[in-house]
Amino acid sequence: MTDAALSTTTIAARTDAGEPSVSPWKRALLYALLLAVSFLMLYPLLWMVASSFKPDSEIFTSTGLVPTDLTVDAYRRGWNGLSIGFGWMFFNSLVISLLVVVGNLFSCSMAAYAFTRLHFKGRGFWFTLMLGTLMMPQHAVLIPQYVMFLKLGWVNSILPLVVPKFLAIDAFFIFLMVQFFRGIPRELDEAAIMDGCGPLRIFLKVILPLSTPVLATAAVFSFIWTWDDFFAPLIYLNDIEKYTAQLGLRTFVDSTGTSDWGSLFAMSTLTVLPIFILFILFQRLLIEGIATTGMKR
């Protein structure tokens, strides 16, 4: 893993360099090729969004992006297509995702601080175990976790989706923060110690304020992955009024079958919209996060 932990600064620094002396013709050809490939890759997504504004009859007859007749009918049908409105399910998703963000930031930053700044017996041992959990597939613990939450009476509530995040279960974020905290000069801690600060004050007043980039990265990834998550809500949430948007969408697929693609596309578009927005706002953080740790999607 060490070799892939590549420095992020190099990404930003070298946009203008690259291999020299590519002839203008080759360059133009390369651009054309890249544009064609990106267009082809994005086409299904663009078409989905465009189709959600088309009259239903047009979805199966038009491969184009421009609707002849712009309509939001599909959105109206889809929004109330289930016994519970999609608005409620978006609200559920939002609550869960925000709580997960808080939980991950709280617990993972504490663990990362302990691993990078505090000295205690067994630190190396726990750190190795933490890295080990990064590799471990969730399936190994899935069923006992489910049974445990069942016995606690937590199934069919958001607790199984949220509480584990307050216990730093997403080791990926600990790893991400450890990488970042290591780069914060120790002289700052020492100066704070001179001023009489204890570990807690150093954490709150020195480390956290300097860590906004990594905290933001962790927050955005937490939000997106939780928003997108399908498996955990599928297992833990049974009542439709507790559904997340993803579960709602999949139930909607079941209930409409293939009879109303327009409203399916409309609701699909809405469920990815928050991700698009976060992507546009924070793409730099996301891309650097991927490049530094090289993990996950």
């Binding site: 892939a4 504490m110 399936h139």
Partner: protein, 308 residues
Amino acid sequence: MSTLGTTERPVAGGRFRFGDSLAGYGFLAPWLVGFFLLTLGPAIASFYLSLTDYSGLGAANWVGAENYVRIATDDPRFWTAMNVTFTFVLLSVPLKLVFALAVAVALNRGLSGLSFFRAIFYLPSLVGGSVAVAVLWRQVFAGDGLLNQALNTLFGFEGPSWISNPSTSLYTLVLLAVWQFGSSMIIFLAGLRQIPQDMYEAASIDGASKARQFFKITLPLLTPVIFFNAVILTIDAFKAFTSAFVISDGTGGPIDSTLFYTLYLYQEAFTNFRFGYASALAWVLVLIIAFFTAMSFLTARFWVHYDD
């Protein structure tokens, strides 16, 4: 500089104090609780359950290795799931690597607009696991879907329903996975930037062609990143779930042609409530993943180039 009997190395200028130990475990407490209650405990419990006939209700009766014996000798759907999953892994991972590397190399030529392309190619990775994209895929590869409409318009070719045909359905999921090559590409780009430019300049002066430079400089120096990507992608591919679930309505159909291992595991656990048997399935998956990971690390020294 005293170490007060701990094995840890003191940091320059710092020293150990008892209070630090207390603080250390204080800050680590949430993680420690989570580790014992949500990882270690359940891992042990799931191994125990795999030796029982537990159904979620009533007692867990000890059955010894029976679940594992049944998996190996008397469960055709397990072998179907293995077949589907391995086909998926062995096709999607290499294709993803090749695409990711090719695009990364193309982007690494000092083009302006790099960040634009990088963002566009990354976007599918970000949304690809969502239900929405699975819904979209269902339509695109349906009999009257976007792909066949396009084929018909462009070539007058009447395509089949790729999704509901068992001989092609899995390949639509492979394509969906390959479509998400962006995150690997970003890691490759970061790796390419670590290669010193003067190596290429020296090679050019020696008259090495671009292709030769790629095979003699870029590829060998990139092997650690290729290795890393391959391991991560393989683990991820074994765990693929959502797209197969949504596209097949949770069945793994048509006729089990998209019965991913995780989907089969889900059905056994949460549709049939065979928690004991599903735990055994889970451990088999963990062992398969561990085996692949270990093999990659063992073979790494023969092909991964590390600077020393």
